[in-house]
């Protein structure tokens, strides 16, 4: 049985806005094992991003706890949380958030800046990661010279820089066209399958969510009891679940049997 890497217990978050109390998360209990690829789905305002922020130590819950690698991170002081973010968590954002004044390899090196790695080791690691995401040839390119898909691949490489325990992806395909978003989801699936990277992805796109190993649903800040198995893109390639024929990532219907994929 896989090791439990992330756990939440009765996680709750309440915001106060203009005298109103908004319950963004309520009693969320999650258990993520090492090597899981989980997608969290839900409509806008369901608390997906809030949950991801709690898991990524960007925000603190008002109730409950988040246990990451056996440590309750809700008890860690604000000024020490950066160490957990640096070493345990990798973030992938919808808008990529690359530094425009750094080239691809420098962007990947960025999270390693204050680590004990030597300059050469950082460079070496960044090269390996760019190779992993298929951008070896583009390491000297600044973000404005990369396509949206390439930028997100650089962001994924950056998220992996410090070999984190989990990668948190917030709508990673939200800013991409149909073809590119499948490339990205395929890459995430491949990293999960080949490298054993634990990925938690938040999306409102059911087709993309379906490519994860497990799909969770959030509604009004509550985790719904229903849970679905995803197709797991990398494990099951791109075969039609009905007739078994290979399909393209952008296909919505199987070109052979015509059934909805």
């Amino acid at each position: 049985m896989s090791e439990l890497i992330l756990k939440t217990e009765e996680l709750g978050k309440v915001f106060k806005m203009g005298g109103r109390t908004i319950r963004a998360l309520s009693e969320v209990g999650l258990q993520i094992k090492k090597g899981d690829f989980i997608s969290i789905m839900g409509p806008s305002g369901s608390g997906k991003t809030t949950l991801l922020n709690m898991l990524g130590c960007l925000d603190k819950p008002t109730k409950g706890k988040v246990v990451l690698d056996g440590k309750d991170v809700t008890k860690v002081s604000e000024k020490d949380l950066y160490k957990i973010r640096r070493h345990k968590v990798g973030f992938v954002f919808q808008t990529f958030n690359l530094m425009p004044y750094l080239n691809a390899i420098e962007n990947v090196e960025l999270p390693m800046e204050s680590t004990k790695k030597s300059r050469d080791q950082k460079k070496q690691r960044a090269r390996e990661l760019l190779k992993l995401v298929g951008l070896s040839e583009r390491e000297d390119h600044r973000p404005h010279r990369l396509s949206a898909g390439e930028q997100q691949r650089v962001a994924i490489a950056r998220a992996l820089a410090n070999n984190p325990s989990i990668v948190l992806a917030d709508e990673p395909t939200g800013n991409l066209d149909v073809k590119t978003k499948y490339e990205v989801i395929r890459l995430l699936g491949k990293l999960n399958a080949d490298q054993g990277t634990t990925i938690i992805m938040v999306t409102h796109d059911s087709q993309i969510a379906a490519h994860a190993g497990r799909m969770l649903f959030l509604s009004d800040g509550k985790l719904l009891a229903k849970e679905k198995q995803g197709t797991h893109l990398a494990k099951d390639a791109l075969k039609c679940p009905n007739c078994g024929r290979e399909t393209q990532p952008e296909d919505t219907f199987c070109p052979r049997c015509g059934k909805k994929l």
């Binding site: 950066y82 160490k83 973010r85 640096r86 070493h87 973030f91 954002f93 530094m99 750094l102 800046e113």
Partner: protein, 460 residues
């Protein structure tokens, strides 16, 4: 990829903005670095001026004391002005070479005066200006003006070795050659400004009133005024011959047996010879006192201007420092606001508050350093203009008309404002630039470091 590299890249990202900020800061810095040397130079200049005045007054006092028994009798009212120069030095002539018709008395008067009780010795002089004149332009704090003055003035002196040894009748500052001696004839002792005007040296020939004289010595005029009279000293018999004044003199230095006889002798001369203007130790002391009053007034004016300058400079520097700090502060606040999302991303990637703060502070310091370089560049070119625009000038009015040499002193003071920067100031300015950059960036950088990563990531 270190914090410094990222800071430099960020600063160079918005080139136009950085350039404008650097130029604005550079001007503030230029003001800051230009003004202190200006004040120091003003103070030094006033100090020099005070020293010059004091030296001049004490040398005059000394000269007056040495000549307690001297009664100067001149045919011209402009004569008799006390000066630190030998009594034969026509520094007491009206300034700027204004020419008065020379008046002479016959040497028979000398014998008559000699017969007055209490008179010990009489030294005769004949002073006459050349007929040819030159036009010269004077620059002064009150503007430029042109004056016409004789090319030279000759001073014929009774070259008696007893007089030469006992009275100050010849210049003492001989820079080359020798002084005049008893029985010298056909030779001249000339002032250095005349040799440079004529382009001659020792043993050179100079034509005076159509007759050729050999230069045996060159002397330095006692004060360094730009309009120091160009003089040629010669034997009085030569002077009388060449000017066609055989038997005439233009000035007599009458020496009394004792200081107590001076008043009586002066009264007799004044009563008997109405054409002679008599000046005694007492008159010279009165003149000295008047001059001291004028000097004191000028120095007080200068001191008051210095005080005003310092007060203005302090205000200007405070405004410049405040402007510099505020520019850095607002630019960095704007930058932090503009880059909120970037700050959120950095924090999400594991950057500590200090990492974020140091990057923004470094950016502020880099901008200030660049401004420091620009400020020094502007300052080294425009320091005189900036200081003269921002600081009051020291007024020298009231002294120029009084005596020769004051024009030069006035010019010295106005030049003080054009003080230039020295490397020490530049280094200090650099340090100050860093300090202001750091100070102006502290708050924005602190704000950046305290930004919640979650809130920052939402920022568009």
């Amino acid at each position: 990829m270190g914090t410094l590299t990222r800071a430099i890249r960020n600063v160079s990202r918005r080139k136009a903005r950085t350039l404008l900020v650097v130029i604005a800061l550079g001007f503030s810095m230029a003001i800051m670095i230009s003004i202190p040397p200006g004040i120091v130079a003003n103070q030094e200049s006033t100090q020099d001026l005070t020293e010059n005045y004091n030296n001049m007054l004490s040398s005059m006092q000394e000269e007056i004391n040495k000549t307690a028994t001297l009664i100067e009798c001149s045919t011209s009212s402009g004569q008799g002005m006390p000066s630190g120069a030998p009594s034969g030095d026509p520094q007491g002539m009206p300034p700027f070479g204004s020419q008065q018709a020379a008046v002479f008395v016959n040497e028979t008067v000398v014998d008559e005066i000699r017969s007055i009780a209490g008179v010990k010795d009489i030294v005769e002089f004949l002073e006459e200006s050349s007929n040819e004149t030159t036009s010269e332009t004077i620059s002064s704090p009150r503007g430029d003006f042109t004056v016409s003055r004789p090319i030279y003035t000759i001073t014929g002196v009774s070259l008696n070795s007893y007089f030469i040894d006992n009275y100050s009748i010849l210049p003492t500052e001989i820079t080359s050659g020798r002084n005049l001696q008893e029985a010298d004839s056909g030779v001249v002792l000339v002032s250095s400004n005349l040799t440079s005007y004529l382009g001659i040296g020792i043993d050179g020939e100079v034509e005076i009133y159509g007759e050729s004289f050999t230069v045996v010595g060159i002397f330095e005029p006692t004060s360094q005024g730009r309009f120091e009279t160009r003089i040629a000293y010669m034997n009085i018999t030569d002077a009388q011959r060449v000017t066609g004044n055989a038997g005439n003199v233009s000035r007599l230095d009458v020496y009394a047996e004792s200081a107590s006889d001076v008043g009586g002798i002066a009264d007799v001369i004044e009563a008997t010879y109405t054409g002679l203007y008599v000046t005694t130790y007492k008159d010279r002391l009165e003149n000295l006192e008047r001059m001291q009053e004028m000097y004191t007034e000028t120095l007080n004016n200068a001191q008051s201007t210095i005080a005003q300058t310092q007060s203005t400079a302090t205000q200007v520097i405070i405004v410049a420092v405040a402007a510099t700090s505020l520019i850095v502060l607002f630019v960095m606040l704007y930058t932090v606001r503009e880059r909120t999302k970037e700050i959120g991303t950095l924090k999400a990637l594991g950057f500590s508050n200090w990492n974020v703060m140091s990057q923004f502070m470094l950016e502020g310091i880099i901008i200030s350093l660049m401004a420091g370089v620009v400020g020094i560049a502007i300052g080294s070119v425009a320091a005189p203009t900036l200081t003269s625009l921002l600081l009051p000038r020291i007024s020298m009015f009231g002294t120029q008309r009084s005596f020769p040499g004051s024009v030069n002193l006035g010019a010295t003071v106005s030049q003080a404002v054009t003080a230039t920067l020295d490397p020490q100031w530049m280094l200090l300015a650099f340090g100050f630039a860093v300090l202001l950059g750091a100070l102006g960036s502290v708050y924005p950088a602190w704000r950046a470091s305290r930004t919640s990563p979650m809130e920052a990531l939402k920022h568009e």
